[in-house]
């Protein structure tokens, strides 16, 4: 199954808390340069799947490999090296409130590169420029809007130019116009920089706008119920839950 161009491989993954099982037997691959969407209703475990993939929450069973490295079998320097090659935008931005947006973006650069302060701030300004926030560089996270927070979160995730970016619910809490702007940014970055995106979302418009491929998780089925091009799933799927999701019907 594993194609030569896949950057993430997930095999027979299972997750749960305590005695409660969220999902099991989840297997898929993410290919280089695509925008891969993990979708599903509330409580299906899609955000947990993201946390498993970035190594934050341990899986109950299964294996996750990012760029050929097993996320849960590496430690020390190898793990740090892996972490430098992924970026994460958190659902609420998770920007450090006591620092300006520019300082937030500079932080990983200061930690992981030998750039001098002037060059570092130049690079960080470019990252903010990439997400359209040049003018807000000197503002604190509490002084910008929700959409700008998410953009700043992407800029910080981009700081070390990782080949893979994980986005947790980019459109949550945003109005449709702001959300569409963010979708456009994701497509633009994927196209111009060749970055691979793994996006967790339940926003239908966003899924159809950005997704090259997607998987759908379901709480009832405790696992994956669909995989493929979201537009084809919308038009062709016969699975009742998938149809209900794409047609916005109550299940």
């Amino acid at each position: 199954m594993s194609g030569e161009a896949s950057v993430i491989e997930v095999e027979k993954l299972a997750a749960g808390f305590g005695g409660h099982m969220l999902f099991r037997d989840v297997s898929f691959q993410v290919k280089r340069g695509e925008v891969f969407v993990i979708l599903g209703g509330s409580g299906c475990g899609k955000s947990t799947l993201l946390k498993l993939m970035i190594g934050l929450v341990p899986p109950v069973a299964g294996r996750i490999a990012i760029l050929g490295t097993d996320v849960w079998a590496t430690e020390g320097a190898a793990r740090l090296d892996l972490l430098r090659r992924i970026g994460v935008m958190w659902q609420q931005g998770a920007l450090f409130g006591s620092q300006t947006l520019l300082e937030n973006v500079e932080m990983p650069l200061a930690e992981h590169t030998s750039l001098r302060p002037a060059a570092r701030s130049e690079v960080a300004r470019v990252k903010l420029g990439l997400v359209g926030l040049s003018e807000a560089a000197a503002r604190l996270p509490s002084e910008v809007s929700g959409g700008m927070l998410k953009r700043a979160g992407i800029a910080r995730a981009l700081a070390l130019d990782p080949p893979i970016l994980f986005l947790d619910e980019p459109s949550a809490g945003l109005d449709p116009v702001t959300s569409a702007g963010l979708d456009e940014l994701i497509r633009d970055l994927a196209r111009s920089l060749g970055t691979t995106f793994v996006v967790v979302t339940h926003e239908l418009a966003s899924i159809l706008a950005i997704g090259d491929r997607c998987i759908m998780l379901d709480r009832e089925a405790k696992g994956m119920i669909a995989e493929g091009d979201p537009r084809r799933l919308r038009d062709e799927s016969t699975h009742p839950t998938v149809r209900a999701f794409f047609r916005r019907e109550a299940a």
Partner: protein, 371 residues
């Protein structure tokens, strides 16, 4: 990635001919390589007309592109040549990002205007504090007229949290204070054979001063900060605004039970601390060979009811001030993650400053009144 570890790591070759300087970049120009090459490339490019030859570049990330564009702009007549389409795409994207307008640095106010602004801010803070005090007084008077509107369960909960849960700490601190005071004062008094007067000294200082003051410090640290954090979180989460819009007075619902709890709990804490301190002192006196009856006689001979009542009244006023300042700091919390921390710090510092200042006022007043 570490630049030297990868065979295709980016490298810079400089070729200088009579008419032109060529800076050839090859391999992967990623963040680590760009950081390593940054000083050298900038030094070479700053000189003047140079050609940045990118034909050998296999990969470029945005940090690498930033370096190339900064280098291009560093010298007059510099230009970029020979980039492959994927490299051009990244360069164009970063060029667009750099072209976006940057924030203008905020103009610093002249000194006079800064002083004016600071005065204005200080004045507003005083106005807010006075307004809070007025609102609190009105709410208190309103509750006196309509006592059934006071939330008793809420007040009981706060009495428990601020009072009974502070008992162990208060007793511990009181006993230790009594022991330390007795011990320290016994040393100089012994030189005059006056150890028997240790209870007089410790008793007076605990009843009149240390009891209320230390209980106040405990309340400010435990409860004042908790009030500020609790109400601060509520204001940050817009819960306070929601109360106002529902027509529920946050003063009556949130502030009054807390302030009442502070007012009622402080005399109790102060008394407890004083009693524990006297017990600690009696224990030390016992070690020195004075029986309990002697200690008791000494205490009865010096202490008056007015000493106790004066101390308790002071404690009640301290409690009112600490709880009020804690609630005010919480309700006035700004936005952002630091707001709650700032509010809690403000509550503790404000509370301690307030009780020290009030203590001074009480000292003068009691002296005048002959208490």
């Amino acid at each position: 990635m570490i630049a030297t570890a990868t065979p295709s790591a980016g490298r810079l070759d400089v070729r200088q001919t009579a008419e032109a300087k060529t800076l050839t970049l090859s391999g992967r120009l990623d963040t680590a390589t760009a950081a390593a090459l940054w000083p050298k490339l900038m030094a070479e490019a700053a000189g003047g007309p140079a050609v940045l030859d990118l034909a050998g570049l296999s990969a470029l990330d945005t940090t690498g592109a930033t370096l190339l564009l900064v280098a291009e702009a560093a010298g007059k007549g510099n230009r970029i040549e020979g980039a492959a389409p994927p490299v051009v795409a990244v360069l164009d994207r970063v060029r667009a990002a750099r072209a976006a307008p940057r924030p203008k640095p905020e103009a610093r106010l002249p000194v006079v205007a800064r002083i004016g602004e600071a005065t204005w801010q200080a004045g507003r803070a005083v106005r807010d504090a006075v307004a809070f005090l007025g609102e609190l007084t009105l709410t208190l008077l309103g509750t006196l007229l309509r006592p059934w509107r006071l939330r008793f369960r809420e007040t009981l909960r706060h009495l428990d949290e601020a009072g009974t849960r502070a008992f162990p700490l208060t007793v511990l601190l009181g006993v230790l204070m009594g022991v330390i005071l007795a011990f320290q004062s016994a040393i100089p008094l012994r030189r005059f054979g006056a150890e028997v007067f240790v209870p007089n000294l410790v008793g007076i200082s605990l009843l009149r001063e240390l009891g209320p003051l230390l209980a106040g410090v405990i309340l400010a640290g435990r409860t004042g900060s908790a009030y500020a954090a609790e109400l601060g979180t509520m204001s940050v989460n817009e819960e306070v605004a929601a109360l106002r819009i529902m027509g529920i007075d946050p003063m009556a619902l949130l502030v009054l039970p807390r302030v009442l709890a502070g007012l009622l709990v402080m005399p109790v804490l102060s008394l407890l601390l004083t009693l524990a301190g006297l017990m600690g002192m009696a224990f030390i006196m016992g070690l020195f060979g004075f029986p309990l009856t002697t200690v008791q006689q000494q205490l009865v001979s010096t202490l008056h009811l007015s000493d106790l009542l004066g101390g308790l009244l002071k404690a009640a006023v301290f409690g009112l001030a600490i709880a009020g300042i804690g609630c005010h700091a919480g309700l006035g919390a700004g936005r952002g993650p630091r707001a709650v921390g700032d509010a809690a710090t403000g509550a503790v510092v404000g509370g301690i400053v307030a009780i020290v200042v009030l203590d001074g006022i009480f000292a003068v007043a009691y002296e005048r009144l002959g208490i």
